[in-house]
């Protein structure tokens, strides 16, 4: 399939044969690296057309193939980074969630702390949820959390009678590679919560090894 699209590409741009005499495999490898570089630098999901322009590939399909193979490569490596293909076809590179609590303090960009993250979890799980309800459950400091989460584009706030309804945005779904379909997303979230709890317990245990010996 890759070969066929390569041929198609050459059909469309026969000048390539003259201009780029290096091996086609090497050429593709170089383009894949450009896609990787773009994803690393951006830090937000990139559309296929952006990747096309970076890698100087005219076909979205070809770029998609390359990006997917890159994602596979990352998966096989089993490192701390992952490349996700989002529902809408965009690609993003990120640090796997489980590493974040251990290294967050090194980030130059201020990251969300435990408090706002809990508020976010609650909103995600209960959405669409009235703001008043969130404040009630999470306390008055949740006003600040909501503001911050909204600023980061993770939640949306819409007028609902005299109050406001909160729900997560597509940016939120993008971060976790979650479905945009509410029911499905909640199911996915439940699984993540279970995982998160397990990891938190593990971290706590690691922090106090003496008490176990």
């Amino acid at each position: 399939m890759t070969e066929s699209s390569q041929l198609k590409e050459l059909d469309k741009h026969p000048e390539k044969l003259l201009l780029e005499p290096t091996g086609e495999a090497e050429e593709l490898q170089a383009k894949k690296r450009l896609i990787e570089a773009a994803l690393y630098v951006a830090g937000y999901p990139l559309e296929l057309k952006t990747l096309c322009s970076v890698a100087q590939i005219y076909s979205k399909r070809k770029v998609q193939e390359l990006a997917r193979s890159l994602a596979e490569e990352y998966k096989a490596r089993n490192g701390c980074l992952e490349i996700l293909e989002l529902e809408d076809g965009r690609f993003v590179m990120q640090l796997k969630t489980e590493y974040v609590p251990r290294v967050r303090r090194l980030s130059i960009k201020p990251l969300l702390t435990e408090g706002p993250l809990r508020t976010l979890s609650y909103i995600a799980y209960k959405q669409p949820v009235p703001q008043a309800k969130v404040i009630d459950v999470r306390g008055p400091q949740a006003y600040e959390h909501i503001h911050r989460l909204q600023e980061m584009g993770l939640i949306g706030r819409e007028k609902f009678g005299k109050s406001h309804l909160l729900r997560t945005t597509s940016v939120f779904s993008d971060y976790f590679g979650l479905s945009k379909e509410l029911k499905l997303m909640k199911k996915q979230l439940e699984a993540m919560f279970t995982q998160a709890e397990k990891e938190a317990t593990k971290r706590r245990e690691e922090k106090t090894p003496a008490s176990q010996g």
Binding site: Y44, V92, Q94, R118, A124, Y125, F193
Partner: protein, 231 residues
């Protein structure tokens, strides 16, 4: 046969009328009434008229006792226990979801930093050259206006010594006597000095009644110390 309409007795006018209007009595806040003052002025007025109305006195007494009762009731009334807040619905809050981290190349370069520096240094130079002329008078001038109200340490000590002299053999000295023949400004100054001395705990100021005479007394403990030190 012209008869002047009979004048209302004085106690049906404020402030005493409250003592004769039971319906109103229960409406006011009991602690807003100064019974002692009401009754003493009531009796004074009655004496002035030269006519003692025992019925009115009796009613005034009854009302006063009612007010006292109401007052004591408010004191004795146990405070309402604070309402127990409604139990919050125990709702399980899911654990914090960690956002995956995405490294971002930021667009700020050293050039941006230098440009910002240039901008800020420019502003600083402009600020230095355009010194805003002060709107308020210089500090010294400002204080000169109030010089007459400032109290020097020496002045305080001198005054204290004089006061001790004046108080020799007396328990207290009325303020009115101390300021007799002084003008307003001097009176204010003396009063301020007294307040300073009182705040230092060297004298006591006693005022038995609102707007009554202020009596000055040396603080007994301190005067004892002074006595030991000076002998």
């Amino acid at each position: 046969m012209s008869s002047r309409p009979r004048e209302k007795p004085f106690w049906l006018r404020p402030p005493w009328q409250i003592l004769f209007d039971l319906a109103k009595l229960y409406k006011v806040r009991p602690w807003d009434l100064n019974i002692a003052r009401l009754l003493s002025t009531f009796l004074n007025e009655m004496r002035k008229t030269g006519y003692i109305d025992f019925a009115a006195s009796g009613t005034a007494l009854l009302s006063s006792s009612t007010i006292l009762r109401l007052q004591s009731e408010t004191i004795m009334k146990p405070e309402e226990p604070p309402e127990t807040p409604e139990a919050k619905p125990m709702e399980p809050i899911p654990p914090a979801l960690q956002l995956p981290f995405r490294y971002e190349f930021t667009s700020t370069t050293l050039d941006n930093l230098l440009a910002a520096l240039e901008e800020i240094l420019k502003i600083e130079t402009v600020r230095k050259t355009i010194k805003v002329s002060p709107i308020t008078p210089p500090v010294a001038e400002f204080f000169r206006e109030y010089e007459q109200f400032t109290i020097q340490e020496d002045e305080l000590e001198d005054f204290y010594v004089q006061l001790q002299q004046k108080l020799k053999g007396k328990a207290t000295l009325p303020l009115s006597q101390l300021v007799k023949g002084k003008n307003r400004l001097e009176t204010v100054r003396i009063f301020m000095i007294l307040l300073f001395l009182a705040s230092q705990g060297r004298i006591e100021l006693i005022q038995e009644e609102e707007f009554g005479e202020i009596e000055i007394a040396l603080n007994s403990e301190l005067s004892e110390v002074d006595r030991i030190l000076t002998t």
